[in-house]
Amino acid sequence: MNLIIKIGILILFTNGLLAQQGGSILIKNGTVITVTNGVIENADVLVQDGKIKQIGPNLSAGSSTKVVDASGQYVMPGIIDAHSHIGIDAVNEATNPVTAEVFVGDAINPMSISVYRALAGGVTVSHAMHGSANAIGGQCETIKHRFGTWDPEEMKMKGAPRTIKFALGENPMRVHGEGRGIQPKTRMGVEMVFRSSFSEAKRYMEAQKMHQQKMSDKAYKGVPPTYNERLEVLADILRGEIIVHCHSYRADEIYMLLQVLEDFGVKKICFQHVNEGFKVAPELAAYGAGASVFADWWAYKFEVYYSTAYNATILTKNGVLTSINSDSGELIRHLFHEAAKTQRYGELSDEEALKLITINPAKQLGIDNRVGSLEVGKDGDIAIFNHHPLSVYTIPQMTIVDGVVRFDINNDNDDMRLAVDPEEEIPAFFDYQNEKHHDRCMEGVAEQLFQFSSHKH
């Protein structure tokens, strides 16, 4: 093995051990884009034990703290992707229109090279989501890109709120309705699935409550309702313990879900993709719903034909909490550029544009108290760029998670894979151009429909 690679891997391994404790680092003389408190020229950022300790000029730290010179460079909070599917071994459990009980956090794969490539695009946190095959899909996991650890638990952002994936429109209709003749086949059916699922969960909660109340009565001979993981999760949504993230495109279906959630008292909702969100921006703003959108994807299927790349701008200007996401292992590598597109399409200010990939997605994931801006006390998740991050010419230089350098362009080589297949001759050439760009959300569905095993065993 090349010595440099070896050293690189060694560094990663060592970092792996530090994963949860966090490291210390002092970044000197950069243009510090705090996102929430403006831009500070020639300032330092000090991270100690994984947390931002100080921001300001002329900071110093103990001799053991790593110092990075960022003169002429831009220092911003680590980018957050509110919608991705990297770092997990399963995306869709497409066998049923409702699979609230499944949890992609059970399938974290810390060896995924996609995580490293995302780091090389300044992304420190991503929302690893279930796919969109089912009206109520599975629970998602917010991961920190602590590439180098082998332990899936260490990838999880402990303390991040629970989230779940819902999906409207063509995908669940196609998989279940068209594919199998099981509701939903229409957007009416999608609504029916939500209403019946929530209603069933309510009855389950009531039955549990009743059982609890009667338990003290010695003459009571009832038994608790049969434990049901799916209904437990749905009940947690009704209790407000889980944030709903809903794959959606058309204005009518977005509006429909708002009505359903209102009826069941569910407040926490962030719409995903939401290509026609701009058409119901006032309603979204009034409900307090978030919108996490593509910068410019459209026309790959009928429900996104009446789209506009000005979506993020219209939503932002209408007061909707908006973010820009990737939904793609490729796009996640240049979310800073995707955010910049709002300056071509709607001329958002630098701050407005950068919020779309930092503090706004952090709010949508309920982690804005910890990440999404450079503020004292927050996690030391930082991305450093050689030009302004919204310039097309910018190149990420260094990405730091919890004060630990996880990507450094000056210490980056070929073959940063953690795991090696003991039998594969040479990593296969893969013609990415044959890949459909928009099918990650539906990954695994074909296998399930045609009953091929997608499991490696």
Partner: protein
């Protein structure tokens, strides 16, 4: 389609033995069940050897062991001069004795979200005992390499069923059973086309089922004490089948191939608290510390990655280009990974982790070679022997009766001409439950070497390279047909898509016609060819997949 056919072909493969069992139903039975093996080097327990000793076997048990042992008058004396004797090997987890179920033809499920438990692969109540077949070839195959007992579990998906400890000898399935339904087997393997399909559904299903099982158990207890006025407990085989696990009466043996699987099953175990053993562990060398801390029983897989074929050395290029250098670096990493995997057992051992082996679908022919590979990579022979004998006996709860060569234990023994872990070591005798199985080295292909093949077989014997035309693609392979001592034909088939060599069976010849069958994961492939000199044309019937044309050319033939 092509892929599927050959995927079917890949598994348990009939072995072409250089040795074959002498025992046969067409011969007279044993004269006595008392045996004395004399002048043999006895490894009583790993690390302890009695040189030039005697072992007496009587009534299926080890009667006496030592250097000064009186040989009973009724004993058949076997002069095992300078041979090596060990306790019979115990397979920590396998499917030995259970015929592999044929893949049912899957219809598209109407409601894949609500399958039956059977269809979903959730049958913890299913007993391995009920599935045993005494004549299953795996029994004699594994016995021939020294295995005398096995912990065998049903095939399946998420929760295939309960495991039993069996002895690898017996005329009827019930003769095999030593300890029935003593464990539960689990995998992180979803069902095809129905819930739970993916890993995320499988894991959540474990959680739900576990809690439901606990509920059912407490409901049943209450119902038993006072059922009047109480709703009757529902009968659900899966939840009931898991009660022994939730009550920690049965160990859940979880198949976990790599470190990710292990993290996942450890996570489940931590949440739910069942008694667990790790089985089929292939690649977990990074987790030695964790496994030692958790103190969970481990069975390492003997299904090692294939050895690389030695490549003919190409002439070294004078100038290496960028890509050559990249490839060198990539291959180096791969080689290091292979080394680490082969060195895993040694690493575990050095850290004080005790482990057994599970054969995990590996062909019987390869398992002992694989053990030798682990030894070559640093595992001590004593630790290897312990992993084959005392440790599996310990975790299966059969130490009282198996695992060592001591008086009073079941006479499960293996005898080899040279130390068992020597590269070319051959098994000579195996005793299972006191029954003798003798293996003689065949004079391998003596005739072939001499080039003497009877005239009647000359037209068929040799190496045939064949092509099967499947749609747009061509599959290539090789059949080697030889003449056995008794003048009948035998042969084997290899091919690009076959994972291992397959024995061909039912060879019939009729003039210029040659036909045979080959077993490929329960699917039989039948071959029918017409020979014209050194070429053959015909077709191969793959059953459900259809019939495809074949052509073959003989590349070597008898003189």
């Amino acid at each position: 389609m092509k892929l599927k056919i050959w995927a079917l072909c890949s598994l348990v493969v009939s072995l072409l033995f250089l040795f074959s069992s002498v025992q046969s139903q067409d011969e007279p039975g044993e004269v006595t069940r008392t045996y004395a093996l004399t002048n043999v080097h006895i490894t009583t327990t790993p690390g302890t050897m009695i040189k030039n000793g005697t072992v007496v076997i009587k009534d299926g048990l080890i009667h006496s062991v030592g250097q000064d042992v009186i040989i009973p008058a009724d004993a058949q004396v076997i002069e095992a001069d300078t041979m090596f004797l060990y306790a019979g090997f115990i397979d920590g987890l396998s499917h030995i004795g259970i015929p592999k179920p044929k893949e049912a033809e899957r219809k598209r499920e109407k409601d894949p979200g609500n399958p039956t438990n059977e269809r979903a692969g959730i049958t913890p109540e299913k007993s391995a005992t009920s599935l045993l077949k005494a004549t299953d070839k795996s029994i004699s195959d594994y016995r021939a390499v020294g295995f005398t007992a096995a912990h065998t579990v049903p095939y399946g998906r998420m929760l295939p069923g309960q495991g039993s400890v069996i002895l690898l000898d017996g005329d009827n399935a019930s003769d095999l059973i030593y300890k029935s339904d003593m464990s539960t087997y689990g995998q992180l393997l979803g069902s095809q086309g129905v819930f739970p399909n993916t890993i995320i559904a499988v894991i959540t299903k474990y959680r739900e089922l576990y809690k439901q099982s606990q509920q059912a158990s407490s409901h049943m207890t209450k119902y038993k004490s006072n059922s009047i006025g109480m709703k009757r407990p529902a009968y659900d085989a899966a939840t009931l089948g898991l009660i022994s696990v939730t009550k920690r009466q049965s160990t859940l043996f979880m198949s976990a191939h790599d470190h990710l699987d292990i993290h996942r099953v450890l996570g489940l175990q931590k949440d739910l608290g069942f008694k667990m053993a790790l089985a089929n562990v292939k690649n977990a060398y990074r987790l030695t510390d964790l496994i030692r801390t958790k103190n969970i029983p481990v069975l390492l897989s003997l299904d090692l990655f294939k050895k690389e074929k030695e490549k003919k050395k190409k002439k070294e290029k004078k100038e290496k280009d960028m890509w050559d250098k990249e490839k060198e670096a990539l291959n180096k990493r791969k080689a290091e990974e292979r080394k680490s995997i082969e060195g895993q057992a040694a690493a575990f051992s050095k850290k004080g982790i005790r482990f057994g082996f599970s054969t995990d679908g590996a062909s019987a022919k390869t398992v002992m070679d694989n053990v030798r590979r682990l030894i070559k990579a640093g595992l001590s022979e004593d630790a290897a022997l312990a992993a084959l004998t005392t440790y599996p006996a310990h975790i299966l709860g059969v130490s009282q009766t198996m695992g060592t060569v001591q008086n009073g234990k079941i006479a499960n023994l293996v005898v080899s001409k040279t130390p068992i872990f020597d590269e070319k070591s051959k098994v000579r005798y195996v005793f299972v439950d006191g029954n003798l199985h003798e293996y003689e080295e065949k004079k391998k292909d003596a005739k072939k070497k001499e080039g003497k093949v009877s005239d009647k077989n000359k037209a068929y014997v040799g190496t045939w390279e064949f092509s099967i035309n499947i749609g747009d693609d061509v599959l290539k392979g090789e059949i080697v047909i030889t003449e056995s001592e008794d003048g009948t034909l035998q042969g084997e088939m290899t091919g690009a898509q076959l994972d291992s060599t397959v024995e061909i069976e039912e060879i019939t010849i009729d003039g210029d016609e040659l036909s045979f069958t080959a077993d490929a994961e329960g699917d039989t492939i039948s071959w029918k060819g017409t020979i014209d000199g050194d070429s053959m044309e015909g077709e191969v019937n793959t059953g459900p997949m259809g019939t495809f044309p074949i052509t073959a050319t003989r590349t070597s033939s008898p003189e």
